[in-house]
Symmetry: C2
């Protein structure tokens, strides 16, 4: 097997790598902008009956042999070289902790944020080919796929709604079609996201302050949270420069808009105000309640758009499909439970929606995707790769 | 006179500065994030009758002796040291071009973006004191004040609505009270701004694309303008990382939020799409029309909030007040004229509003503010400083 330029990462394997356990292992990687997680799962295809899996039965608890964590592996954030280093290091770390080596690996599933085009997938598959022996099956997906799989235990079917700092709805049909809605980022109207909710709350505070909007207890609660004395401090610099529309700025490059839209940690800092908005709505504030109601409609609209485009609900609109719910916004509940309201709103239109809050993390979802795929292959089904 | 550390800037004055013209000159500076402009105005208080001025009569055309341009002088953007250098250099340049020197200067008015608190004013007044002889009157304001003065020819009374990349409404009463509305920036809901209009248009394109919103010709027109093949390219990276709400991010510092909110030139790049939205509305597109109608209501609401808080419209709600309209959004008109619609909307509530589109630039407005003030002083009135 090729040692690639990071040979030292693999020194734990010794001079002559020993073959691994009978069933081998599977690596699942969830690579995000804040951190990258790799789990190593025992890959026996002879599991006794257990929790319901996609392609067969899965043991409960799952045989997670090791877990490793590293930093950002979004190639759009840190560049291709650093992303590749991080991904290789986190996989080596997980394998080393599990006591196995690269010959024991049956499959790897990398679910990485920023992987959107077939060319991204192709390139990253190439990296994995450089690292692992040729018998290893490799799968490359984006991280929404791992989130779906973490709820469906590896089955690629249904819709996942992610609502953390940002939000996106992603859907898959059994015959391999996919669609998504929202997920375009803060400037492109993801109003149901944590960022969107908090930005609307901050806006309400400013409008109450300058006389354009109604009074709200969001003012007191948000200023308290941010340790500010007045809404003026929230605003700071009071206005844009007296800038006309400069024709010079008329040609945003693709990468320019992308980078600017997604890479700033301030978005998460704004989104962190969501619990304050929820608590304020809980105490009866009309403005906060309206913001949360709007966010419920927005989040439900994303799911409905995906379900409708893919026909996930069947011809009668009532067919069963898994609806996986992931992210802080859907969990930041007091008596006001955004996730529950979103589900209610979706089920009214699609009574076959089956809501699932995942019990395992996305890296395990990625490993299960690979496990599911090789099990189907063992059983004569189709491969994903 | 102190030569300060930038002595070389003032070498044109020679060893012994010669006294200037009889009436002296006035410097007006408009300091923004994109550029800084300084004009040098002849300051005779014995002008013949001319265009209507604030404290007396002004000649038409105004006796602008010289004009100089430099880069950014917002101390929040480039730091205090660089801002100070830029301001001193642009004033030296204008004076040198005019053929006068610092002894000829009767007054300086610096209207700089980012000047919001009395402490900012105090500090910048200190810089000016280091540069100019002690007889020179110095005035420090923020750039909204210069925009108002550019419409009222130096009179501090009325309301100015600025709508370029950002938007703000600023108002002043004759007895010195002031108020503002909006101007809080892109995350705090300045939806009437150029940025706000364009962001709503981009959002409409994404919603039409993913099935959440109605079809709109904004899609074709915006993609054409940006030279993109599909709305997918607009989005680029499809979603935020699967980030929960991190409590670590819960403490935005004041300077953190400020810097991030206002300093990114991408805001102007987004706002540059306004003419496409206006043209699309002109051709009858319902979505584009709705966006522009909303922006009109938003801009009018800012003005109304200021007028109401200050009582600019008098007790009967019908008194005269100047309404100065500035910025690309209010001028980016085809048959759809945002500025005209805003005026119509305001006049319905406040029939005494007298709309003015300034004929001079804000730097001249700043100079007129100073001229007005020293003229009133000459006539026994109160000084601003």
């Amino acid at each position: 097997m090729k040692r690639y330029r990071n040979g030292e990462l693999w020194e734990f394997e010794g001079e002559v790598p020993v073959p691994g356990a009978a069933g081998g292992v599977i690596l699942g990687v969830d690579g995000g902008t804040t951190s990258t997680v790799c789990v190593c799962l025992a890959a026996s295809s002879n599991y006794p009956d257990g929790i319901d899996g996609g392609g067969g039965s899965l043991p409960d608890p799952l045989p997670v042999l090791a877990r490793a964590v590293a930093g950002c592996s979004n190639h759009n954030s840190v560049g291709e070289f650093a992303a590749r280093e991080t991904l290789e290091a986190v996989m080596a770390d997980a394998l080393s902790k599990s006591g196995y080596n690269r010959f024991s690996v049956r499959a790897v599933c990398l679910a990485v944020s920023g992987v959107n085009h077939p060319t991204d997938q192709q390139r990253i598959r190439g990296w994995l080919r450089d690292i692992f022996p040729s018998h290893v099956k490799v799968f490359v997906e984006n991280d929404a796929v791992a989130a779906l799989a973490s709820g469906t235990m590896g089955k690629l079917h249904g819709c996942v709604l992610i609502a953390g700092t940002g939000t996106i709805a992603y859907g898959y049909t059994k015959d391999g079609r996919e669609a998504r809605a929202a997920g375009a980022g803060p400037i492109l109207g993801d109003w149901g996201s944590g960022y969107g909710i908090a930005a609307q709350a901050l806006t309400a505070v400013v409008r109450a302050h300058d006389g354009r909007g109604p009074e709200t207890t969001l003012t007191r609660n948000i200023l308290h949270e941010l340790e500010l004395a007045s809404a003026d401090e929230l605003i700071g610099i009071p206005f844009f420069p007296l800038m006309d529309l400069h024709p010079d700025f008329l040609t945003p490059t693709k990468s320019g808009i992308e980078l600017w839209t997604y890479e700033d940690p301030s978005w998460a800092r704004i989104a962190a105000l969501v619990p304050v908005v929820v608590a304020t709505a809980d105490s009866g504030d009309a403005v906060a309640n309206k913001i949360l109601h709007n966010s419920v409609l927005e989040l439900a609209a994303s799911v409905k758009a995906v379900v409708q485009r893919l026909g996930l609900c069947g011809k009668d609109g009532k067919s069963y499909f898994p609806l996986v719910m992931v992210g802080g916004v859907l969990e930041a509940n007091k008596s006001w439970d955004i996730g529950k309201e979103v589900i209610n709103c979706i089920i009214k239109d699609f009574p076959g929606a089956h809501p699932i809050r995942p019990k395992v993390e996305p890296a395990v979802g990625a490993a299960l995707l690979a496990w599911n795929s090789i099990t189907r292959e063992d059983n004569g089904g189709l491969s994903m790769s």
